[in-house]
Symmetry: C2
Subunit: 342 residues, 2 copies
């Protein structure tokens, strides 16, 4: 690669349904020059996360969509290349939001310096980053797991679900994961220590989930939606809590995919008669808990109470395919793209 | 009426869809004799409330269903006829759960004496009873209305909705009611003091509701479901709260009435992206707040801050028809059946 070139992956067209390779385009540009209070960054790792699908659509959800022709957004770990800013020097590793490109300029105020002696740097995009904090804040603030309760988490081998389940175990709950395929399920039980994990690809999935939850479900951490939610709903106990964190099963869905019958009434009736709480959130709602999260989960990672798994793809040009795989569950653990080794 | 006869209305068959007159049967029986610790009661008023539809179905919701052949349940105001129990004497007025019959025996422990000098006795079944407390507890504990926010309440002229809206006004909110027909809407605005009230029978209902909520909706108190909910959902603001109290639009629905497309995904997506809270409840969840409710709302009723309207039907034999009317919104205010004048 020519070091004077900045490769960028831009949004070529808005995906309808599953993103196609043609919705992305790799273009080359000059390396940008930092202005005052800005630094030049070399991207080391991209974080690929399900929420990014929403950014590719025109509809506003949490944030503005990526513009057509704009660089795909996403969290990054970068190395500082040039810095006119006090407190940031070349070689520093920073957490930022540089997106899918080799180089970026960024305001120094938006960057967080990573100390690579505290934990592997990639954890800043995973277990000790946005996904881990999403798990921590959503589970504890909304799920409110109590000792002896049953907690079910979808996408249990993923970046968020794996942390949800392990925290729930540490809180004394029975924890049942849901994941796609026997290999992920074995990992969730054997490596992460969940009490059980049910493969949602099994034809008898709903029956198996019910068997794994003999006392019903008190907390369901929703990452998925769709058929997984359908199987969970009848198992929810009185006063169950449902933190709604993601709905990956429908991120590629179009309006035409909604077939009948309408189950809204059944959901609302369950909320009413079982006094359920459904609450949506995103991690920034709990920004004030960041230090508490880092101290608590950081200690659990260091002492081995919480484990994590990363799925690292090599090369910026692989980001679109890796992202498409993420949306259908092809990754196994926190999905990262290594853009540069150093 | 022969005073030695106890007329009872029993469940003759379980209604499928809208209850039919033939699902109820008026039978005559002897007047029961109280055992130890029991009193004999003469029913003065029955309370007719939407939740009672659930008791007529075989499916367990909050409570056990009425047995086939059993007396239809419901809250009552009665006069004590015979009492071997200290502290209860003939002539006392009591709040109980005697159901649809002229006489009943009841355990003294399950009765609350009503002081008719504090408020009209019928308020014990309405604004100062279960419906009023439902409104108070659901709105304040789950809705958490803040000054300047917009609160929307369905079934706004009804026993619960009318109290929800008036409390929200007292809390400094903009309050928009939804009711069926121009007459009810005029009452809600002119007599109850809501800022606006939209007739859900209007063909342009959804547009009119949006116009009445120029800053969106922060609290939606759900009594209805169905098309009313559909119009509310797109107007909910970030962090809006939805106490789910009732779903009267679907109480008579059968599984075959669920037509497509399935809107569950749209609801869950709204919960996620707008960080909504949906929470079901029933009044007994807040039993500890009963005294606070009685003092607070009692004072508001006495000083005229909260008004109420009653719709009183004459005669036990009219209860089935009145109840059927309630389920389609034919009543106008808190629905009661006067069984005996004294």
């Amino acid at each position: 690669m020519n070091p004077a070139i900045n490769r960028k992956i831009i949004l070529a067209s808005r995906p309808v349904g599953e993103p196609a390779d043609s919705d992305f385009r790799l273009v080359e540009d000059v390396i940008p020059q930092p202005g005052p209070d800005q630094v030049l960054l070399r991207t080391l790792y991209l974080s690929l996360d399900p929420y990014m699908r929403g950014r590719l659509s025109a509809a506003k959800s949490y944030a503005e969509p990526v513009a057509l022709g704009g660089v795909i957004v996403g969290g990054t770990i970068s190395r500082v290349v040039e810095s006119p800013v006090a407190g940031l020097v070349p070689g520093d590793l920073v957490l930022g939001y540089a997106g899918w490109q080799d180089y970026a300029v960024a305001a120094a105020a938006g960057l967080q310096v990573i100390d690579p002696t505290l934990a592997p740097v990639t954890t800043a995009l995973g277990v000790l980053g946005m996904p881990g904090m999403t798990a921590y804040c959503g589970l504890l603030n909304i799920g409110k797991p109590q000792r002896g309760e049953t907690v079910v988490v979808a996408a249990a081998s993923g970046a968020v679900g794996s942390v949800v389940g392990q925290i729930a175990r540490l809180k004394g709950c029975r924890v049942v994961g849901i994941a796609g395929g026997a290999r992920k399920c074995a990992f969730v039980v054997d490596e992460l220590g969940f009490d059980a994990c049910i493969d949602h690809q099994r034809p008898d999935f709903a029956v198996a989930l019910a068997s794994a939850c003999p006392r019903g479900i008190d907390v369901y951490f929703e990452n998925v939606g769709g058929a997984v939610f359908d199987a969970v709903l009848p198992l929810l106990n009185m006063f169950a809590r449902v933190p709604v964190c993601g709905l990956i099963a429908s991120y590629n869905a179009t309006a035409e995919d909604a077939t009948g019958p309408d189950r809204t009434r059944a959901v609302m009736r369950a909320i009413l008669t079982h006094r359920l709480t459904f609450r949506g959130f995103i991690v920034s709602d709990y920004a004030a808990q960041r230090q508490e999260f880092l101290e608590t989960v950081g200690a659990w990672v260091r002492d081995g109470s919480i484990r994590y798994r990363e799925d690292i793809v090599e090369g910026l040009e692989q980001a679109p395919a890796a992202f498409r795989g993420l949306l259908r569950g092809a990754n196994f653990g926190k999905l990262l793209v290594r853009v540069s080794a150093a």
